[in-house]
Subunit: 412 residues, 2 copies
């Protein structure tokens, strides 16, 4: 990879050759891929970029893959960025954009990481790829691996929702439901990966995943014609996504494609916010309980905390926590004003923006991009619980008229 | 609309000015929009088209909207067309492509029709839009209307899957769940639309919807660089989609963008195939029971039968019916070989292709495009029933090894 110098531990600074099988540093720290920005500057122009296929692979010069590695088969990335005029006005913001990353092949931002994992697995000559996960990482890995003709082994805790398991089974993953909690699930996946030498897609172990995720901010910048907003809001669980978002922005700044960096808004659930607590109290992070319905960000022991905390601090970021009720209200708000249906964790970023507007932290002078990280169809049960039931009627116009009147529904 | 001459009844030939509020002919026949192909030929080139935004609105010259009507807000269309090499080889086909139209804002092909309805409602000055639907038309209308700032009233049969209802409620639609089948649902929606004068998005009433749907074949042609396949397979319920698909192909042929027309493959469920029965028996269509789990095509009284039958016959098409088991097997096959997760009705077209291959009707000499019309996340319950259970194990490597051996699972 001519564009990559090496991988460097974010904790001790030790460097490693950027081989496809990289995991963590000997010290236990997470590795970060370091690019040769001079080389990138020489080879990449905005004009070149504009002509390329609209997928996450369009900006190859800033991705840690060999030139000969093929794009993965599913169309990941280049999700729509909508200017949300009515919602922005309702919140009192200067301008607001919604990046709908639920519009990805398996319906979440995680497709970006999983497609990267598939590409690196192929570079490594692996034919099997594995991870432990309860949700979007698993389904995106299963889908992207299937499309590329790789096999997958996926370890889920027994409490994993049936719907997610169904998705995995449909993609033909070998699914192992582990009788125990997530820690035991992770442990068994580690033993199996060590024994059989499968390619490892466990987040926070594999340093390439956040490089895949960073493509979301490369796209936002390009879709905004390189004029950056004041803030970029995103939900935070494990920390890998917000770290990737920041990495992408810094990359673009380093090569001169953008001339300002937005401040990050890190939004977590009230019931589980170890990263935001660490920022707010300016202390090392401590584990927390996982009390939120936003399952994709219910991470009490965030394995990418180091990178996430660094990103929030470097960007002079803001942290905000939201209740489950605020999350579900944001889901409905995005649905009714933007036609965007996000899963609970997916809309948590927007819930945070709404709260900061109500608190007067954000206002008419501010421009904000809010990323929706997953599709609401992933968790229909919670949507139904909060948005209510339809009216139920027989085929009878008089009863319909009566029902409308009873509800005070305007018909024009 | 300089590109549109008029709308013409497919039954009696009577013509109507193409106003936004058009419904059906006085004789009860469905109207068809007639274009001035000479005008289109003069104004549209393949080069012009190539440079435009990748949405369903890119080919305005072939769409029945005023030049001043804005594109609708959600990014509808330009869904991925994947060449399915492994699946094609497995089925013994020359070449096979999968058009994944589940990759649309509300996760189905119906977004194309609903976005068109929203555009026409805006031209008509309407502020409320209504329809009856088994699900996808409804959720797509709710989402596209919400994004455009229109209100919606939506009538669904009580059997509509939960995922679709959750979408409707989240998008803020006024939802009426009708105790009865689709026919009764349609009847109540008609009474309500007549009473309150809402803009009518019912597929067989509004002649513009199939014009929206036809964008799927405009895209397929462009994505294949105007080299058409021998066959185009699609699931059929009401008949509006296959009619739209055919219209798009004929449009492109008329303006000289393609020089051959694929034969249509109309796939219906064994439990509900009134259109295919009419073709097979060369008789007028008759109502049928609605006995299939593929809810989106469980239409016993297809209101677009006239247009659909004409399309299948004109194309020298093939009809094939598949059982629910064949449908669910196709769902898994698409998942495992392509990483595409379609809803039951969405994969019915592919189930038909598979069956025709097994019967020797299709083979190594044939090229086929199969459209997946909706996302599997819309109906997780059926996927769960059919895709089997994961292995269940404690955190114990020896037991894992044993389980793999018992199942003959290869680990490399």
């Amino acid at each position: 990879m001519k564009n990559v110098i090496h991988a460097k531990c974010v904790r001790c600074g030790k460097t490693y050759e950027a081989t496809p099988n990289l995991t963590t540093c000997a010290c236990g720290g997470i590795l970060d891929v370091v690019y040769d920005y001079d080389y990138v500057k020489k080879t990449l122009t905005k004009e070149k970029l504009a002509a390329r296929p609209r997928t996450m692979w369009r900006c190859r010069e800033l991705l840690p893959v060999e030139e000969t590695t093929p794009d993965t088969p599913l169309r990941v990335g280049w999700s729509p960025l909508y200017e949300a005029q009515r919602l922005g006005a309702q919140l009192g913001l200067g301008r607001l954009w919604i990046k709908d990353d639920g519009q990805n092949p398996t319906a979440s931002l995680k497709d970006r990481a999983s497609a990267m994992a598939v590409a690196k697995a192929q570079e490594a000559g692996a034919r099997i790829i594995a991870c432990s996960s309860t949700g979007n990482a698993a389904s995106s890995l299963a889908g992207n691996a299937a499309a590329a003709g790789l096999r997958s082994f996926i370890f889920v805790p027994e409490r994993a929702p049936k719907g997610k398991v169904a998705q995995l089974m449909t993609f033909g993953a070998n699914v192992i439901s582990v009788q125990g909690n997530y820690e035991e699930t992770f442990a068994l996946s580690k033993k199996a990966i060590d024994k059989w030498g499968w390619y490892n897609r466990n987040a926070a172990i594999n340093p390439y995943l956040s490089e895949g995720k960073k493509t979301v901010s490369l796209e936002i910048a390009e879709q905004l014609n390189w004029q950056m907003p004041d803030y970029l809001a995103i939900s935070v669980g494990d920390g890998c996504t917000i770290a990737g978002v920041w990495k992408g922005l810094k990359d673009l700044y380093a090569i001169g494609f953008i001339d300002s960096l937005p401040r990050l808004i890190s939004v977590q659930a009230e019931g589980c916010h170890p990263i935001n607590r660490a920022i707010a109290e300016n202390q090392p992070w401590q584990p927390m309980e996982e009390n939120t319905l936003a399952d994709s960000i219910a991470v009490g022991v965030p394995r990418n905390a180091d990178k996430a905390l660094m990103a929030i601090r470097e960007s002079n970021g803001i942290v905000v926590n939201v209740t489950d009720e605020e999350i579900m209200a944001a889901q409905k708000l995005l649905g009714t004003t933007c036609g965007v249906f996000g899963e609970p964790a997916g809309v948590t970023g927007t819930a945070g923006v709404k709260k900061l507007c109500a608190q007067g932290v954000l206002g008419a002078q501010d421009t904000v991009v809010s990323v929706v990280t997953g599709n609401g169809l992933k968790d229909v049960a919670n949507a139904i619980r909060f948005c209510g039931e339809p009216m139920k009627l027989p085929n009878d116009l008089d009863l319909l008229i009566e029902a409308f009147e009873r509800r005070g529904l305007k018909t024009e």
